[in-house]
Amino acid sequence: MLSGHNSMNESTPTQAVKSRLTALRAAYQQRLDGELVSLQAHVEALTVRPDSIDALQFMHKALHKLAGSAGTFGFEQLGRRAKELEHFVAEALNAEQSVLEPLKLETWVNQLKEGLLADVQRGSAVSIEVVPTSLREEQPSIWLLERDPMLADYIAQQLRSFGFSVEHLNDAQELSQPHAHSPDLLLVDHRASESPELNENPERFWRERLQPFQCPIIFTGAEESFSARLHAVRSGGRGYFAKPLDVPQLASHVARVLKSQDAIPERVLIVEDDAEMAQFCQLVLERAGMQVQVLHHPKELIQTVSDFNPELVLMDLWLPEATGAEMVALLTQVERWAHLPVVYLSAETNPELRTQAMVMGGDAFLEKPVDPVLLVSLCRSRVGRLRELEHAMSRDGLTGLMKHASIKEALEAEWEYVRRHPRYFSVVMLDIDHFKAVNDSYGHAVGDLVIASVGTLLRQHFRTTDKLGRYGGEEFALVLPDCTANKAVSLVDKLREAFSAIKFMGDGKVFSCTLSAGVVDNEGFPNDSAEALIERADQALYRAKHSGRNHVCQAIDSGG
């Protein structure tokens, strides 16, 4: 077999290559400015004459070029957006009539510019020079306030293995010194100050010192007692961990606390034939950070709902072809959407009609004119409840990851999505090495902690848009959108390294574990079904196990 060109070997670029890449990238970025200007000109031409085939063809070519080249130079966001827009233009060209109008042409160039800005800010120059260490935008930053330097080193190193960045402070007085960044979480030893005030009134001392920090605070201390925990709460803490610290447990708690803060935007579908009303609601909800899609024609409801997968529908009670209540009744017939929250928008004051609408499905009424504050809070709370419900139904209790059936469903959904909106995605199967030995030597409670740690680690290392599941006992499955197998291999490899660095305690002994993984993407196997991709990832995992474990393997085409 061919040797020496295994795609898993990451070539390290030499300095010369790096600087040429950087120069090429800079030149490309300059060219982009010009292309965006000419795109804008054609957008304007199209706004005046929406049927101009020339302008459409020009846009198609230009967007196609961007979609194909931007990523190579490290402008991935821009490239992705160009690809989406190219898709719309291609459809418009095929339809031989303008279907671009509802797509807000005038925002297109801005969308591209936003993508470019995101790429530039993310410093994607780095991503073409070295393999990115993580798909996450940035690691959450923890400030560790701890007087014992050896203990601090140990905790910091362990927390870093879980994907946090850690800054160590020695004394509470360092909190008031200027810092470049603010922390996402504070981990505070409750004795960490020389100040006499701490002895006099510890609770007041900490409340005052910690008052400028908006982030969650967790206390640590030597004693495990009710009063120690109560102290922590009164000092402004979110939690208390007794020493010796069980770092995997602490990390899992920290991850949970942090995750509950950066929630994914709520997806709201507005079905409303009054364009102004729809625009108003869209604006209000988008300002509140939600993702909104507007539908003017009820006919497209089913298609739009299955494409956009909203978490709430804001429905006009009176629509041109069918009433809102009828539309809701239609939705509830499909099992998948039977629990989709629906809020009616209506000026209807007739209680009988309102009752009728509620009987046919639907959760609440919002009266026109709509109060923006009420609109946001109603949408947010309904979606929140839906999420809690789904979470409880689909999440694995030990790891907080998706359950077997849900991750398989997520893979099917991604596979279906990609057929309509082509993009890459990777599937990863991952398994803890020699797990049975852990259970046998240290007992199931410790084994569970090891499994839970993989869960924590996965959530730290991957994006919120990645689908992470516990597939079976000690087996995990991941679905990573917008990620090629090469990239996935390097990400999972980082995870593998981090996991092997974690120290577990069991039976009075310290031990560590390793994991193996198999990776596949839809790029290499475009004709594979979702099921077949899982199978391939599994085979790659099998190879990883057989090449000595603690390995990540990429699927190879064995069929020729």
């Binding site: 061919l2 670029p13 080249s69 490239g79 990239k487 790029e523």
Partner: protein
């Protein structure tokens, strides 16, 4: 088994109209991959260069002004420049199953999706070559 038949991949001819992409291809294949590469800006240019260079692998961008990838491929075949020992690949941002079927009808099974990763491109070509050789 077939080791004695296997020549390592050394010479690659690329056809790509975008000058920035040509440059990054050269960087990726010559500087990073250590290959001998001719990067042509058009189908015509490729037709003129191919017989003297005798590439083992020809990589064609699909969408180009003037002669596009499939047309260039056709012309190369007409000219007798595609031998049995010449591997072929398309490079494109379009990788839907329907497109792939269309390429297959043209006798192209290797598709390099755009955007490509400049650090991994040489490996991708080596992989195509090793499969072709088998």
């Amino acid at each position: 088994m077939y080791l004695f038949l296997m020549k390592p991949l050394q010479r690659v001819l690329c056809v790509e109209d975008d000058p920035d992409i040509r440059e990054i291809i050269q960087l990726a294949l010559i500087d990073v991959g250590g290959l001998a590469v001719i990067a042509c800006e058009s189908g015509q240019h490729a037709l003129a260069e191919v017989d003297q260079f005798k590439p083992q692998l020809i990589v064609l961008d699909v969408m180009m002004p003037g002669m596009d990838g499939p047309e260039t491929l056709h012309a190369l075949r007409e000219q007798g420049s595609v031998r049995e020992s010449t591997a072929l690949a398309f490079m494109t941002a379009k990788v839907h199953p329907q497109e792939l079927d269309r390429y297959r009808e043209l006798g192209i099974v290797n598709v390099i999706p755009k955007p490509f990763d400049p650090m991994a491109l040489a490996d991708q070509l080596h992989a195509i070559w090793s499969q072709f050789d088998e």
